[in-house]
């Protein structure tokens, strides 16, 4: 393999490579310079450019930062406990910078120096870890106790999952620390006809959630449609140019056209689809499929614009993620023709 190397232009090549390498080093050092905080007390070693290809200057730089980190580690024991976390973070950043320095210098350093420097870095890190677990209770980025998982009600996974979900809104309020503007959609409604014409609104995603015995009529294109927890509903929707994601639907009828359709946890529902790719079901039972049957004035053009102008036949090519076998999945079926509904016309939105 190595022999293939183009020897003829090797020198030109080498200088080009060298240039590239220098550029990369520069970018890297810029990056960690910009990422290190400005208020850090003289910790970050200067980027490698200054010490380019000199082992002794590397060693003195390295030694200096190492001593500085060690002394700051020592000071942590005397520090105000409330500031500890901040200090550890700063030290940790310094150690990472030091490691980066080694990485950037490694190609000209003798291998012994590389090894011993890396060892020193890992020792520093170890010392920091020991100290931080000693001084502050370890706070790892993890969910160690997810009680919902182990609840005694676990026998039926479906039940456990429902509980899990119910406990979520609280968690969500906490974790969604950002202010989320209410996205367009219909939520928490019952026994209503919910209609919306989104043409000309440049709508992004549209959400239908927690609806009971409603009829939803959507005219025009959306980029994405999210459906969550619907019971006894009929959903008549114009084309979706991105994807549709349905979770938890029971006794519903959907008329949907989209590039991708994913259906999770649906029971006893009928789907009249036009879809560019294969629809998928997961954790579903008693779901049936048929071709799209929706009409409103101008739907042909909307479908065309959404590149859904033609019937693809994909409505019947359903992948069941819970049934990875060649035989037909027992969870879904093709809706017999004599049970299919007539074309639904929603031209008159409010009727």
């Amino acid at each position: 393999m190595e022999g293939e190397a183009d020897r003829s232009d090797a020198s030109a090549d080498a200088s080009a490579l060298r240039k590239k390498h220098l550029a990369m080093l520069e970018r890297l050092s810029n990056r960690h310079q910009s990422s290190s905080r400005p208020d850090k007390p003289g910790s970050s070693p200067p980027p490698a450019a200054a010490s380019f290809e000199s082992t002794s200057s590397f060693l003195s730089l390295f030694g200096e930062s190492k001593r500085s980190i060690e002394s700051r580690l020592g000071q942590c024991r005397l520090a105000d406990p409330s500031l500890l976390k901040l200090q550890f973070d700063e030290i940790s950043t310094s150690i990472a910078d030091l490691e980066k320095l080694v990485a950037e210098s490694s190609y000209y350093l003798p291998s012994y120096e590389v090894r011993s420097s890396l060892k020193a870095v890992s020792d520093l890190r170890q010392a920091l870890d020991n100290l931080s677990s000693e001084l502050i209770p370890k706070k790892k980025f993890s969910f160690k106790n997810k009680p919902a998982r182990k609840e005694p009600t676990a026998p039926q996974p479906k039940g456990a999952e429902a509980e899990n979900r119910d406990s979520r809104p609280a968690a969500k309020a906490g974790s969604l620390a950002v202010a989320v503007p209410d996205s367009p959609g219909f939520r928490n409604r019952a026994n209503e006809v919910l209609a919306k014409d989104v043409r000309g609104l440049e709508i992004g995603e549209f959400t239908l959630s927690d609806l009971e015995s409603c009829e939803v009529r959507l005219i025009g294109c959306a980029r994405a449609l999210f459906v969550h927890r619907l019971r006894n509903c009929r959903v008549y929707a114009g084309p979706v140019t991105g994807s549709v994601l349905i979770e938890e639907a029971e006794n519903c009828v959907f008329l949907l056209a989209s590039h991708q359709i994913r259906i999770h946890n649906a029971k006893a529902s009928d789907f009249y689809l036009r879809v560019r790719s294969r629809p998928i079901v997961e954790d579903c039972s008693g779901v049936r499929f048929a071709p799209y049957r929706l009409h409103y004035r101008g739907i042909e053009r909307d479908l065309e614009d959404a590149r859904l102008g033609e019937e693809t036949g994909n409505w019947s090519k359903v992948d069941d993620f819970k049934w990875l076998r060649a035989a037909q999945s027992p969870n879904w079926s093709v809706l017999p023709e004599n049970e299919r509904i007539e074309t639904v016309d929603i031209s008159n939105l409010s009727a």
Binding site: E99, K100, A103, E104, Y107, E202, E205, A224, I280, L324
Partner: protein, 185 residues
């Protein structure tokens, strides 16, 4: 210069990088891979299993493992952890409801020892959709600042639909992996 070219030759063998691409279903993983490879993205079925794509990027060969994100097959992700140089976590920034799931799955992934050395790129995808959260908001929700300090990570907003942001993300990931591989020699 002589030394550098010798090292280059040693490195030639290591110009391959293994990238694992995961995230919830419907986040746009396959679309990202196809888009960056310049392929048609208009017909993509949800991934039942995985796709492997080998692409040449800058002077590296990237082996990208794009593993399906449906709940049923998430438990198989771990079969792909070994030897991973770079991890790409893809987020559907317009799917606000499932951000908790997203955070939980990412947390689980990052606990994985075999991925501890991998550089982590987070793609806040679907930025083209109106109402999508910004990368900064996603970073906050996922609490990325609390991540283990030894992890190399970056979050980049992107749209697999328009292609925006994809190169920025891959540039960073490839450079970051390259700089680590240098260190090991």
């Amino acid at each position: 210069m002589g030394l550098l070219s010798i090292i280059r030759k040693i490195k030639r063998k290591e110009k391959e990088m293994r990238i694992l691409m995961v995230g919830l279903d419907n986040s746009g993983k396959t679309t990202i891979v196809l888009k960056i490879n310049g392929e048609d993205t208009s017909v993509i079925s949800p991934t039942l299993g995985f796709n492997i794509k080998t692409i040449t990027y800058q002077k590296y060969t990237l082996n990208i493992w794009d593993v399906g994100g449906q709940k049923t097959i998430r438990s198989y992700w771990r079969n792909y952890f070994e030897q991973t140089d770079g991890l790409i976590w893809v987020v559907d920034s317009s799917d606000l409801r499932r951000l908790d799931d997203c955070k939980m799955e990412l947390d689980n992934l990052l606990k994985e020892e075999r991925l501890s050395g991998a550089s982590l790129l987070i793609f806040a995808n679907k930025q083209d959709i109106k109402g999508a959260l910004t990368p900064a908001e996603i970073a906050k929700v996922l609490n990325l600042e609390a991540m283990d300090k030894t992890r190399h990570w970056k979050i980049v907003g992107c749209s697999a639909y328009t292609g925006e942001g994809l190169l920025e993300g891959f540039d960073w990931l490839v450079q970051d992996i390259a700089s680590r591989i240098y260190m090991l020699e």
